[in-house]
Amino acid sequence: MTYHFDFSALLPYWPEFARGIWLTLQLSAISTVLGFVLGTLCAIGRADGSRWVKWLVAIYVEAIRNTPLLVQVFIIYFGIATLGLHVSANLAAVIALVINVGAYTCEIVRAGIESVHKSQIEAAECLGLSRVQTYWHVVLRPAIERVYPAVTSQYVLLMLASSITSQISAEELTAVANRIQSDTFRAFETYIVTGVLYLLLSLVVRICLWLFGLAIFVRRRKLGTAI
């Protein structure tokens, strides 16, 4: 059996690939920022909230971590439509990704928060810092610094997982690839190219997160500790 690769058939489609990459990056960036905020708030709630808040967060986290992302995407997309609201596929994709990554982030950041010694919080309180100030200045920075490698992996995973939203026809890279391969009948080539593009995107995301880490974790940069 011989197969003749023909990548040239894909050449005319490069603007579409570019649009797909752009949307994938947008989806990932927005979901990363919002998911991180959601996850961090949940982590604070789970570590330090009232009993009700702890339970609510625990239910959310377990519900998300124990169901497939694809099902979550469908529930959100069709659920919102059933409620009579019109939401674009892209927005539904963002909502689903935020909710999904928020749960994973919550668990990672909570581990970081719990690694901050009680005596640090006590010292901050004794200096007169309020609870919010203590969290902001004394707890969260070291907590996130400690779990940053895990956070990085999670957000690279999020970028890759955004391909699932092609199933509700969010026009990201995988959705674009699906259409191109059905136009060209060059499925093998299309998905090889798509795979390589995802590889490059992962690299870009990793570098961005690494640079971000260098920018905010000043001590690590100055003391030359790995980020």
Binding site: A123, L129, E145
Partner: protein, 250 residues
């Protein structure tokens, strides 16, 4: 001499374990009180109670005009009046020495950053650490970290300073440099309460020595009381400590 701190019949239990059993004492303005006693005598707990880090079951504690036994206590206001230095320093590891000191003045007292930086330099100079302002805690020795912790507390200009076994984790040389800073503070008129195992320091610097035993104030007096203990327990304690020292120096 008005009392800055006054404890009256303070009782505290951890579960069924009685830690403080009717503790009463007063510390006046400008006084240096040293609380001594064996491990488990309740001396650190007393100190933590004075800063509302522990709650009490019975009795009254008044600190700088704050009634700690009162449910309506404003903890934040109390913490602005009282500084505490811990055995384990508890510096914030991700901040430089200077940032450690500036954090509370800037975020609690809303002092402008520039002014706070000057304040930081000033208190660091007082503890002889001005050269390390840009360093991170992990780059400092234990004694240096403890001096920074004292400076951090000083920057909030407390009316009372508490020292919870601040030299227990340090070797004799580093202990010396921290004690010198504390002695300077005492000479400057700071009201201080320290829990310590440094008998020589207590004898020399403290105007009041409080010996605790089994959750009670067993004996109290001036530094000289260590040379003429009235109770057998204090005699044993003082003897035991100097005996340990003698052994250690062999």
């Amino acid at each position: 001499m008005s009392a800055v701190v006054s404890l009256s019949n303070v009782h505290k239990q951890f579960g069924s374990l009685k830690v403080l059993d009717g503790v009463s004492f007063e510390v006046g303005r400008g006084e240096v009180a040293a609380i001594i006693g064996q491990s488990g005598s309740g001396k650190s707990t007393v100190l933590r109670c004075i800063n509302a880090l522990e709650t009490i079951q019975q009795g009254t504690i008044d600190v700088c005009g704050h009634a700690l036994h009162d449910a309506s206590l404003n903890r934040r206001a109390l913490h602005l009046d009282v500084g505490i230095v811990f055995q384990s320093y508890n510096l914030f590891p991700h901040l430089t020495v200077e940032q450690n000191i500036m954090l509370a003045p800037v975020s609690v007292k809303s002092i402008p950053k520039k002014q706070a930086r000057e304040l930081a330099r000033e208190v660091l100079t007082r503890v002889g650490m001005e050269a390390k302002a840009e360093n991170y805690p992990e780059q400092l020795s234990g004694g240096q970290q403890q001096r920074v912790a004292i400076a951090r507390s000083l920057a909030m200009s407390p009316k009372l300073m508490l020292f919870d076994e601040v030299t227990s984790a340090l070797d004799p040389q580093l202990t010396g440099e921290v004690l010198r800073v504390m002695e300077d503070l005492a000479r400057g008129g700071m009201t201080m309460i320290l829990v310590t195992h440094e008998m020589a320091f207590a004898r020399k610097v403290a105007s009041k020595v409080i010996y605790m035993h089994q959750g009670k104030v067993w004996e109290t007096g001036s530094g000289d009381m260590l040379d003429q203990p009235k109770t057998a327990e204090l005699r044993n304690f003082v003897g035991g400590v100097s005996h340990d020292r003698a052994e250690a120096s062999v």
